[in-house]
Symmetry: C5
Amino acid sequence: QAPVPPEDALRTAVAQGGFVWLGLYEPTETELAAIGNRYGLHPLAVEDAVYAHQRPKLEQYDDALFMVLKTATYVAHEELTATSEVVDTGEVMVFLGANYVITVRHGEHSGLAGLRVRLEEQRELLCLGPASVLYAVADLVVDTFVEVAGAVTDDVDELEASVFSPERTDDIGRLYQLKRELMGLRKAVGPLELPLQKLAERQIDVVPDAMRSYFRDVQDHAIRVRDQVGGLDELLSSILQASLARTTLADNEDMRKISAYAGIIAVPTAIAGIYGMNFEFMPELEWRYGYPVVLLVIATIVLLLYRGFKRNGWL
Amino acid sequence: QAPVPPEDALRTAVAQGGFVWLGLYEPTETELAAIGNRYGLHPLAVEDAVYAHQRPKLEQYDDALFMVLKTATYVAHEELTATSEVVDTGEVMVFLGANYVITVRHGEHSGLAGLRVRLEEQRELLCLGPASVLYAVADLVVDTFVEVAGAVTDDVDELEASVFSPERTDDIGRLYQLKRELMGLRKAVGPLELPLQKLAERQIDVVPDAMRSYFRDVQDHAIRVRDQVGGLDELLSSILQASLARTTLADNEDMRKISAYAGIIAVPTAIAGIYGMNFEFMPELEWRYGYPVVLLVIATIVLLLYRGFKRNGWL
Amino acid sequence: QAPVPPEDALRTAVAQGGFVWLGLYEPTETELAAIGNRYGLHPLAVEDAVYAHQRPKLEQYDDALFMVLKTATYVAHEELTATSEVVDTGEVMVFLGANYVITVRHGEHSGLAGLRVRLEEQRELLCLGPASVLYAVADLVVDTFVEVAGAVTDDVDELEASVFSPERTDDIGRLYQLKRELMGLRKAVGPLELPLQKLAERQIDVVPDAMRSYFRDVQDHAIRVRDQVGGLDELLSSILQASLARTTLADNEDMRKISAYAGIIAVPTAIAGIYGMNFEFMPELEWRYGYPVVLLVIATIVLLLYRGFKRNGWL
Amino acid sequence: QAPVPPEDALRTAVAQGGFVWLGLYEPTETELAAIGNRYGLHPLAVEDAVYAHQRPKLEQYDDALFMVLKTATYVAHEELTATSEVVDTGEVMVFLGANYVITVRHGEHSGLAGLRVRLEEQRELLCLGPASVLYAVADLVVDTFVEVAGAVTDDVDELEASVFSPERTDDIGRLYQLKRELMGLRKAVGPLELPLQKLAERQIDVVPDAMRSYFRDVQDHAIRVRDQVGGLDELLSSILQASLARTTLADNEDMRKISAYAGIIAVPTAIAGIYGMNFEFMPELEWRYGYPVVLLVIATIVLLLYRGFKRNGWL
Amino acid sequence: QAPVPPEDALRTAVAQGGFVWLGLYEPTETELAAIGNRYGLHPLAVEDAVYAHQRPKLEQYDDALFMVLKTATYVAHEELTATSEVVDTGEVMVFLGANYVITVRHGEHSGLAGLRVRLEEQRELLCLGPASVLYAVADLVVDTFVEVAGAVTDDVDELEASVFSPERTDDIGRLYQLKRELMGLRKAVGPLELPLQKLAERQIDVVPDAMRSYFRDVQDHAIRVRDQVGGLDELLSSILQASLARTTLADNEDMRKISAYAGIIAVPTAIAGIYGMNFEFMPELEWRYGYPVVLLVIATIVLLLYRGFKRNGWL
């Protein structure tokens, strides 16, 4: 079958009892407006679809749905540093009508191409109409969330191990970075829950009833990711707290040790200072064994102090 | 067409099938009361409109709406200090009836003039009646929120960079200042959501059905700003925490280094003190190489301590 | 018109188409029980009205309302200290029936007298029946909240200035005190919102429909105060955090400076100690310029250390 | 009238138009099961009533109610320590049917005996049937909460005074202990609110309508206690924060003072060290007034340092 | 009766008026799919049942229920360390139809075998159909939660004792570990509440009405565990805070003592230094009792300092 020009696609599809699926990548306003005119999209939705930085939402127009999803990819990195971008987010908008589905992508997001292949294999799903594409997109997006959350969990585990390792490590920057990345992930996952619930529970014209349990499944996954991300966030807070506490205590111990050691050293200095005085009449100075006795006295005091400090936990 | 005196405006407008738009700037109570009498505004609403420091709200009277919006402007500044005012807020009140719309401005708020020009270009919107003016005002106000939130985001990014830079910077005052400014922004944005939702969802006489999706669009933007502001606030808390943690750890390290260094210095002092004692019988003093040997011993101990402290992470 | 004894008041008032307003100040149980019998008040409400320390609430009985309000007054004070009482609270209870209104005051609360004068000037309000008195009381109470919140805001601003001033000030006690006072204010304002909302929205026999927008106005003010108090509380937490952070950092800096200075002083001590040793063969001691050279060496080292420490930010 | 054996109680009571009130103290499972069979109690409720450590709840069975209440007693103590038990909790379960009420007590809880005496004086209340006993129990339980909360408030006030007193006190253990005790009280009070609300608002067969405002009164008291306990908890957090802040600052000040003083002492040591060197050519040593001049120099430096440190706030 | 092959089980059971109970342990996808086909399970539910790491939920399909429960076991350990796994979680999924119940277990979870024995003793429960198995599973799972929560409570008590003991202990790692384990338990308990509530309150085809109060009982236990876990979590936070506070204060005290002691030692050093100077004209040096007088002066100053520091609380 010869490729059909986009202008005729809708007519051809309806004539053949099928539907049109248009995939766009960062279209300009005029491009999308032209398509919007042909497919009867609402101007406000078209405007939203042109500019990225929307939040996930589902909007119902008379005979069409407009859905915004945020996507996330985990950026592999050699080592987690305070500046490494861990989660990269993009956006996918979907216009869903009775006979068409239009997907608009923003940002780098691999996999939406693989989507078409995957879908074409699941013919029975495709037969349910254009809503099956919306489902496939949402499912894929949430699946990437699951992956990203899993990868971030590994990062958190690594950080945890580092914090509780006996070495002195500087984890604060990395903890902060992960917290910030989790915030980005939360922004992508959290607001998605309500739209998915609507798709799963509400009677919507362009979504056949048989599709609902599919959306419920996606919603269930989204809730799981949200819980996981929330748990990670809580965990990071606990790790940060524990890290600070441990470091502070270790620092205090170091200072205590150094000071105790300096305090011990001050004793021979003081005693030697006494016998370094130049008084004419200092009988000890003329004693035959004055010197070794004083050395012995010093050594004894130092030893006693050392043992006392040890017992106190100061050394 | 000759300008119509305000007193006749309503009659003329109704006669011509149009509506009146009155724009007032900080009117006195008597001025507004006079207008209120002519247009049948509720006395409590008139009182609210005279005195600023209201919170955003929407009130429905029999055949009229009264809406309060807080506006925000970002105050450009050379450098963020602990006292710099970042967000400046004003207020706009709107009375909306079947044939009239009255806007009352408080505080300096540029752009409401540009609003009239903008609206006159969108004739199809103006045709929807006075509610289109309410929409335009709300849209403009939320747009300025978006701008302010963006500018504050830049400030937060700058602070973040400063906190994680290796230099020692005093960021606490600035962090506090930003937090406080965000609080002001939140007060302007937060309570606006519910009124906009009512305008978008509820059946209201003076708001034509066709206007609802416009208000939903504004509500959507308001939610986005609210989320952004909430995220910034959370981020600031994390930055503050990280900043404190880093500074404390750096301070501890400094103290440890200084103390360790002083501890090392104490060793030659003590040893030299021993050989500065004036005992008559101190055989070492008469040795030919006593002096260089002691110097060597001191140097060795100092070196060993230095290496030990280095290995401990104390220096 | 001759004063009517309380016993006959109700009958006289009903006969003349008016209503009775009884104002009581801390009545005993028997006094109030007597009045309660005559006016048919519910025994549990009477009991509540006798004992103060109620929380704000609205209770509906068959044909009567019982409302408890907490009042607040700002206690002027020369200087804010850790023990100064800032907010003083009292209570007003109101019984509202078809033909009567009974107000019971607890604690010192000026202004309920001025209330009667004010109300008598607003004849059109009084014509709406006894509910107008309830409105006037609620309005007055919330107005005093607004005043108190304003005064506390000034206190917070003063504290903020003190915390961020370069001087070392002890603000913790004062911060705690303000926090505690705010807690008292919050207890008075918070639970008032729901009763006011009920009065504004619900169909209640003894409250004429025309009064509802008045109660909505009061509710609106109460929400504003609640928001303001909530904001102040949040601000105080931030100020406390910032105050602690600043003081800790300043303390650390002081310690670092003192230690660094002591560390520098240790150097001449050590070097001088070396040349204070009594070895017989110390060639430097016999050099012609040994002494000035050593002084120079000491001065050089001290200077280098000083500059190094300065560069490190240790001094 | 002769005492009626429990077996015949119900029949006798119904015959005489009265009701049975059985009071049990920690019955065994078999004892209670026997009674449960006779009175038709639900087996799950019987099981719950045998084992303590239930949480407060209200369960409705076909023609019966089962309510669990936690009781609290304040344990008087000489002095608040980190281990003193402040709040002691027990449990009361109530089975309520059309003609009977069965109370089961766990733990030491004085006063349920006094309850019967009290109730028998209020004949008009008892006439309302077995629900009046449930009311009396709930009222008594909440009254003890009020008492306990009052006593704990005194403890908190005492702690507050101790924290803000100028002496150095160790309040952390005690703060923690009170916090923990409050948690126990909260567990007893919090879940009680909903059951009481149900009793006050819902149409329940075994609770006559006239009893509802009584339960509303109890609910009101429970809310007040919950608010009070919540406030105390918040207060304790603030006190802990303030206590830590104050102690840390005081500790820092002590360290600063000690270090500054040690720093001053280091100056004469260094200078004296210089003149303790054994160089042959040190002209100052031969000066007639070298010694007093050096002493003067030392004294001057020490004085200047002392004044400088004072001005810096270091001493 | 001869064992029936799984393929015929359903037919045989229905024919005999009974039901089938299939128990599977970590089945493969194909195994479960085969069974799913025979019993008409929903493919999405089958997929969920194969892969563990689901969250507790209840899903209703046309004529079947699918429930996921997380199980928990307390891992006994010699001593609580920072890495000891305390709570081990597994999963049980239950498919419930009119004539069958299928349980799928993941992870090690003892006791589900004992379940069958227990159930077969309670014949009257089994007579209520397959829902009784779901109840028994849920009851067992929640019972293990109760046990685990009890064991963790003991751990918390132990930690608490350790924190408030006078010895210096490192509890941070253990506190963190318990917090993390509690998080795992919370994830298992929290989401279970809603499904149980649905089973207890909602009209569901495959759950006979008589079973509802049983599920309410389980829900009640789940709520109790949730409250207990929440309380433990709060307690851990308080303990951590108290632990940090106590350790910090103890550390500060140690440092203060060491510094004060070093400060005292500095005094004889300085004075001895003075009399160690080599000036020619130092009259004190030639005094007969110069030496003992200086020793006395030193001893006096040290004693005075010692007493002053004691009084200051520095020693």
